[in-house]
Amino acid sequence: MRLEKCWFCSSTIYPGHGIQFVRNDAKIFRFCRSKCHKNFKMKRNPRKVKWTKAYRRLHGKDMTQDSTFEFERKRNRPQRYDRINTEKVLQAIPKISKVKATREKDHITKRLSAGRVNRRAEDRRELEQSISLVKAPSVLKEDATLTLPKQKVTVSYAQTENTPMEE
């Protein structure tokens, strides 16, 4: 039993899910759900469809090259069962996935950090420019802090609503 990758969106296909299409030249296409299958039948290129992993990798949204990818590689040679080795592997896999996940997260954070810096600069600029909307410039000159003045509002007691029609 093997977990396969969907040809279109690159998500894992668990047993009992999805559809497999074998073309006349014996190439096998596996799809995780009918959404991917239908997109394939429409001859859409996954590299152009925004929500697929292929697009994300191609456009640098997700991490492409990393040493953690080397660990998971399909080997076509059968190997004899070795309990010691298997135990080691089972211990190693969670560690590797953790590292991989943190690295992917960091990649995305790094990608978005430029935006953060820009946004902060923008906010600061807006604050400097438009502060006059909330605090009069003369007041600002005297009192450089940005604490906004508290305003006193009159609230009267019981209101009776018997208002006759005007006019």
Partner: protein
């Protein structure tokens, strides 16, 4: 087209049937209706189409018949002779010629009448012409009716002819009637030929197949031949003569030494000598059958002499290379009843025909092309090392044991026995892992994990994986340290909470401005510019101004005073006492104050700026401009503000789509459909 079975010839319909078929086809497949009033061209075309269609179909059908039957010149001479013997070549050819003539006649009729139809002027005339044409064609077919019947008869018989391959290795069995040819045939092949005690049980050729040395041989059983002059022979005998004459095969001449067939050995010998010309160039064998009735040594001198004569004849046909066993290769004795000598006869016959064929091939020119392809490659010895045959030691042991003659074979315990011991098929399930070759035997029962956490375990298998993982973690630690440094840099630039608050306030203010502007814009054309005294909404009160200014942090008192002192209503009034700043406005400004004449106890409450400015409190809303009361006006103001929101024309997800409270609202999923089906409401 014509293979060595004539089973694929199509059925020949009789004359009447043919006429029926074609006419009904014409009726079905051509247009059926034409009107008197249509143009002449249309009428003519209609009838011409019918005549042409019928003519072509007849022609096609007759052509098919002619093509399907074999041309006697074009097929193997054995078959052409056989057909001649059975059906008389001339009669056959005549019938086909008649069909051909009819075909030509029909096409002539068709062309003639089409030419006439071109000048038909009325519907009636065209119709008559068509009837005449079709009628004549049908008469022609009626005329060849007997030929068609004969051809059908011939076809049926031909389909039942045995499929003899003239080029295959063949063994022919011939002899007098009732000598035991069919019984021999039944012994060596699977053909179930009828054997009966009366003569001429076999009335035609029968084919069987037998195997020898992985090769297939055809065996042909013939009807018995009588000693008669050639011209007097009947059809049945002619069949066997034809077979003898044309097929290149080994001939087994059967002799009944007991005479129980009704013919003495002398008579049989006479027959032999009369047809021996047919045995030229064929490996000949004499088979003495029925020796259980008359053993060979008990033959009379006369008979022995005759048999020897025949044997001598047969030996002439022997190949040069095989005269060591001359005696054994030519004369056989057997009994089909007791199966004595049957297999030797068959084997020798097969070998002889094979040898004969190989010899012929070797002598022919074609072999030179093939000879260069026969080459057994022997590797040249490149050094003095001896390389004997490699036999595994186990095999040597077994051979030694077999030589010593140890009878007992050690019966290995089979898995099946194990199964039976432990409760049978349904109870015991064999351990498939028993013979696994692993580093340690304890591991045989392990359940091997294949999948973990969405990964295939097999993809990670590596003997040094733990070391690599440790290195990876070390790298990761170093990388994280670096990343932490960057993070602190970036995060250091963040804003203070007060700055955040101020920014939010700015943004809110901007939004409010935009909304106001949109409201103004949308009603710009219908909003009149009204002088202040008719302003019912009380937009321009000092209270408001005071509130707004204090929201900005300025002290409004001076501004309010100034405004009041300059107001229109004050013109001409004497100086009055200045009024208190905080919200307690002069009642004289608000003339039409609703019901609040006296001073009230006011509670002063400090509220954050956002609340104070954005919403006109319900007290301030003055019903006017057509609204019945304050509540209605408030609602109207609310609706007005909602309506200037930008529409979501991009159909992107909006606020209302974040949470769908009811996934299946009842009104969408129940009830009768106004339009459409339930599956697609």
């Amino acid at each position: 087209m014509v293979k060595y079975n004539f089973k694929e010839i199509k059925v020949v319909p009789s004359g009447k049937e043919l006429v029926d078929i074609i006419l009904s086809r014409t009726q079905r497949q051509t247009p059926t209706v034409v009107h008197k009033g249509s143009r002449t061209k249309i009428i003519r075309e209609f009838y011409m189409h019918k005549v042409k269609f019928t003519g072509e179909n007849f022609k096609k059908k007759l052509s098919d018949i002619i093509d399907e039957f074999p041309r006697l010149e074009a097929i193997n001479p054995f078959y052409s002779d056989l057909l001649h013997v059975l059906y008389n070549k001339d009669h056959f050819k005549l019938a086909l010629a008649q069909v051909n003539k009819a075909r030509n006649r029909i096409s002539n009729i068709a062309t003639d009448y089409i030419r006439l139809l071109k000048y038909g002027d009325s519907l009636y005339r065209c119709k008559c012409l068509k009837i005449a044409a079709l009628g004549r064609m049908c008469t022609v077919i009626k005329g060849i009716g007997p030929s068609l019947a004969y051809l059908e008869h011939v076809r049926q018989h031909m389909a039942r002819l045995p499929s003899i391959d003239p080029n295959m290795r063949t063994i022919l069995i011939c002899g007098c009637p009732n000598v035991g040819k069919s019984s021999f045939m039944n012994k060596i092949t699977r053909a179930d030929v009828e054997e009966q005690p009366y003569a001429f049980t076999t009335k035609s050729l029968f084919v069987g197949h037998t195997d020898y040395n992985c090769l297939r041989y055809q065996v042909i059983d013939t009807p018995g031949i009588l000693d008669r002059p050639f011209e007097d022979r009947n059809i049945i005998e002619m069949c066997s003569i034809t077979a003898l004459a044309h097929l290149r095969s080994a001939v087994l001449f059967f002799l009944d030494v007991s005479g129980s067939c009704g013919y003495s050995i002398a008579q049989q010998a006479a027959l032999f000598h009369s047809i021996k010309s047919l045995f030229l160039n064929k490996p000949l064998m004499i088979v003495c059958n029925k020796i259980d009735l008359q053993p060979m040594h008990a033959l009379s001198e006369e008979d022995k002499r005759l048999v020897d004569e025949m044997k001598a004849e047969a030996q002439k046909t022997l190949s040069i290379g095989g005269d060591q066993n001359g005696e054994q290769q030519v004369l056989f004795t057997m009994s089909t009843l007791t199966n004595e000598g049957v297999s030797t006869a068959k084997n020798t016959a097969c070998e002889r025909i094979l040898g004969h064929r190989v010899e012929l091939k070797m002598k022919s020119k074609k072999i030179n092309d093939c000879l260069n392809r026969f080459h057994v490659a022997m590797p040249k010895t490149r050094d003095a090392k001896e390389r004997p045959v490699c036999i595994p030691p186990q095999v040597l042991e077994q051979r030694a044991k077999a030589q010593e003659g140890e009878q007992e074979k050690e019966k290995r315990k089979l898995e099946k026995d194990l199964e039976n011991e432990n409760g049978g098929a349904g109870v015991y399930s064999a351990s498939l892992k028993k013979h696994y070759i692993l580093a340690s035997d304890e591991w045989k029962d392990d359940i091997i994990p294949e999948i973990i956490d969405g990964h295939n375990v097999a993809d990670f298998m590596d003997h040094d994986i733990l070391e690599r993982v440790m290195e990876l973690e070390r790298e990761e630690g170093m990388r994280l340290a670096g990343v932490a440094g960057d993070e602190s840099e970036i995060n250091g630039d963040d804003m203070m909470p007060e700055e955040r608050e101020a920014l939010n306030a700015i943004r809110k203010r901007k939004k409010a401005l935009i909304q106001e502007h949109r409201i103004k814009k949308s009603t710009a054309e219908s909003r009149p510019v009204v002088p202040r005294k008719f302003d019912k909404d009380r937009q321009f009160t000092t209270q408001r101004m005071g509130r707004q200014l204090s929201g900005l942090g300025l002290d409004p008192s001076k501004a309010i005073e100034r405004a009041r002192s300059r107001s229109v209503s004050r013109i001409g009034r004497k100086r009055e006492r200045s009024v208190a700043v905080d919200g307690f406005g002069d009642d004289s400004m608000e003339i039409d104050n609703e019901g609040k004449g006296s001073y009230k106890k006011l509670r002063l409450r400090s509220v954050s700026r956002s609340r104070s400015r954005s919403r006109a409190s319900i007290e301030e809303v003055v019903p006017g401009k057509g609204f019945k009361d304050k509540k209605q006006k408030v609602k109207a103001i609310k609706l007005g503000k909602k309506s200037v929101k930008k529409r979501n024309k991009d159909a992107r997800k909006g606020e209302a789509d974040r949470v769908i409270l009811n996934m299946m609202p009842k009104h969408l999923f129940s009830g009768k459909r106004g339009i459409g089906k339930t599956s697609r409401r």
